[in-house]
């Protein structure tokens, strides 16, 4: 067994090396050598051993949802989404530039940022494509199940304080954010932009700490933009540059990706980007994390059904559970921890009334009255899957 494991690691390492050589041959070694040095297979993901590897490089890791059982997600269980290779940032060489339509362009070291007033926000980050694998017909992209979501405490400074220092000129509509990750070949750079109003909200932060420790490389060391309540691609990792601009950034990850049909379309319809609008806040959603799907229980045995519900910038007001395939619903108890942009844990005690296969459903409702749908709104990129969740349990 262990020899086979080693063998396959050896094989994939070799294929990585040949890949790296081919990459060098295709695009010119000099441009890419630094990146190859980073993800050595087998060592790429230390501290993330429990996560499902969706892509080795760029690194995409999903949390098996049954492991999500605390309000704050420990870093070793926190999912990872990267469009490009993880850059190796040295703090000495790192700085954040602030430019564009500002009175005083800035170049800030981490110590400069640390002189500003501290701000901590507790935020649930969810990949816009979480649940993509469930869309039918299937769509291209990382085939996430339910586990591209997690909650952490992010500590840093308000973005607004930094922008104030730079002095925004009139007419600014977007703050464009770029990270230190570099594209390969002609892959577009991962650049995103935040509409000014959200950028100036005091809860939008530049964070250097995640759950009380320096942000790990996979999560954006040394500095990450945190845009609370919005799909997580706004929360740009490895931040190095902010630009104040009067128009939407003209790049793939703004103009083509992370957009949603303006009007619902029939499944399979491919739209022109002009018929789509940028994704903003997350939608209302819940997932059942315990019991694990497929668990066997005894008739009459008490089972604690629990999970999480979130709604981006909105507040969860209730989570209902159904144990009769949606005929009737009963409210679940909401957990005590309650923060503005974070998920709410829910609990529901259930006893299998008879032997057989039982389906348990969860449905969250937010303070705007939005609730989870029965069927998904299909879209070509597979974003915002938020159908009523379900797990099946076998009672004997």
């Amino acid at each position: 067994m262990s020899t086979r494991k080693q063998d396959s690691a050896g094989v994939s390492r070799r294929s990585f090396l040949t890949g790296a050589l081919k990459l060098g041959a295709t695009f010119g070694i000099s441009q890419f050598l630094p990146e190859f040095a980073l993800p050595v297979l087998g060592e790429t993901i230390p501290g993330k051993e429990k996560l499902l590897v969706r892509s080795v490089r760029p690194t995409d890791l999903e949390t098996p949802v049954e492991l999500l059982n605390s309000f704050i997600t420990p870093i070793d269980l926190f999912y990872v989404r990267s469009h490009l290779y993880t850059p190796e940032v040295e703090l000495e060489d790192w700085s954040l530039s602030v430019g564009g339509m500002v009175g005083t362009p800035l170049s800030l070291k981490l110590d400069d940022l640390k002189k500003l007033p501290r701000k901590t926000v507790t935020v649930t980050l969810e990949c816009a494509g979480n649940g993509r694998a469930f869309f039918d017909p299937p769509v291209a992209g990382i085939q996430w199940g339910k586990g591209a979501v997690g909650t952490a405490r992010w500590t840093g400074v308000s973005l607004a304080d930094v922008l104030k220092k730079a002095g925004l000129k009139s007419g600014v509509k977007y703050i464009t954010a770029n990270g230190a990750d570099r594209p390969m070949g002609k892959v577009p750079d991962m650049v995103r932009n935040v509409p000014l109003e959200k950028a100036l909200h005091p809860d939008t932060v530049l964070a250097w700490e995640m759950n009380g420790q320096p942000i790990p490389a996979l999560h954006g060391f040394p500095l990450r933009l945190i845009v609370p309540g919005w799909e997580a691609a706004y929360s740009v990792k490895w931040l190095i540059d902010l630009q104040a601009a009067d128009a939407e950034y003209d790049g793939f990850f703004v103009k083509t990706a992370y957009r949603f049909p303006k009007k619902p379309v029939a499944p399979g319809t491919i739209l022109d980007p002009k018929d789509t609008a940028p994704l903003l806040g997350l939608v209302v959603k819940s997932i059942i994390t315990t019991p694990k799907h497929g668990l066997k229980v005894k008739v009459g045995e008490k089972v604690m059904v629990s999970g999480f519900a979130w709604a981006g910038e909105s507040d969860i007001v209730k989570v209902d559970v159904s144990t009769d395939r949606g005929s009737t619903w009963r409210p679940a108890r909401l957990g005590k921890e309650h923060e503005r942009y974070a998920w709410r844990q829910f609990f529901y005690e259930w006893t299998a009334p008879e032997s057989g296969s039982h389906t348990i459903l969860s449905r969250a409702t937010d303070d705007k009255g939005r609730t989870q749908p029965v069927t998904a709104q299909w879209n070509q990129s597979g974003y915002l899957w938020n159908v009523i969740d379900q797990v099946r349990i076998n009672a004997e």
Partner: protein, 228 residues
């Protein structure tokens, strides 16, 4: 620590120097003047390294080869009864796999590819995106890729063995379209077990499918009309 390739590389360089040294009298001035700096012993040492290098090289090759064949035989045994693909990357061996390995497993591993389920049009769009992102493909390679990807990573998961499925398709065309058309089959989405049951039923109803033909037929049906 040096790895195997690096040891080989060092020995290779030493070996070439050794051969050149032994043959130095017959070589040109530049090489002669280069080797004049070494004494006889050094040249002998280089020559011996060359011989050792060759031996080492061959032994490595044979062990690597035997390891490979062990892996392959294990894998082909696995694929007899499982849906899993034949190599560790998850890329089944069939026409077009070489293009994927050469042109697509470059910036990322095969894992990003094998998790997709797209029809041919979807794969053409995805290939187009990757070409815009820097992949260089001829038109012929693009078509070959689209065929390969749609076959193995189409809306339904293709079976492990393409050869087996091809045999199954022949059985299907010959034995399953006598009482009814293909439409009854095309509208199904059955698991492997489901197709085994269905074929069993059709055989009980009079389809002339032999026991030997059944696995291939089921492989074909599961690949083409399977569950997502």
């Amino acid at each position: 620590m040096l790895n195997n390739q690096e040891v080989l590389g060092v020995l290779g360089v030493l070996g070439v120097l050794g051969v050149l040294g032994v043959r130095k009298r017959r070589e040109n001035k530049m090489i002669q003047s280069f080797f004049r700096r070494f004494n006889r012993k050094t040249v002998k040492f280089l020559a011996i390294s060359f011989v050792l290098g060759m031996v080492f090289c061959f032994s490595l090759k044979t062990t690597a080869f035997s390891q490979n064949s062990i892996l392959n035989s294990q894998d082909s045994q696995d694929s007899q009864d499982s849906q899993d693909s034949q190599d560790t990357s998850g890329l089944p061996n069939s026409d077009g796999v070489e293009v994927v390995r050469d042109k697509c497993v470059v910036c990322h591993e095969a894992d990003l590819i094998v998790q997709q389920r797209l029809d041919r049009a979807g794969w053409k769009r995805e290939i187009g995106k990757m070409v815009r992102w820097g992949t260089k493909l001829t038109d012929a390679e693009t078509e070959k890729l689209a065929d390969y990807l749609a076959l193995h990573f189409g809306k339904t998961k293709a079976g492990a063995s393409v050869g087996l499925a091809a045999k199954g398709e022949a059985v299907f065309l010959e034995k399953c379209l006598t009482c009814h058309e293909a439409d009854l089959t095309e509208q199904q989405q059955l698991s492997k077990a489901g197709w085994e049951r269905e074929v069993g039923k059709m055989v009980r109803w009079g389809a002339q499918v032999s026991e030997e033909e059944k696995p291939a037929l089921v492989e074909f049906l599961t690949g083409k009309y399977g569950v997502r």
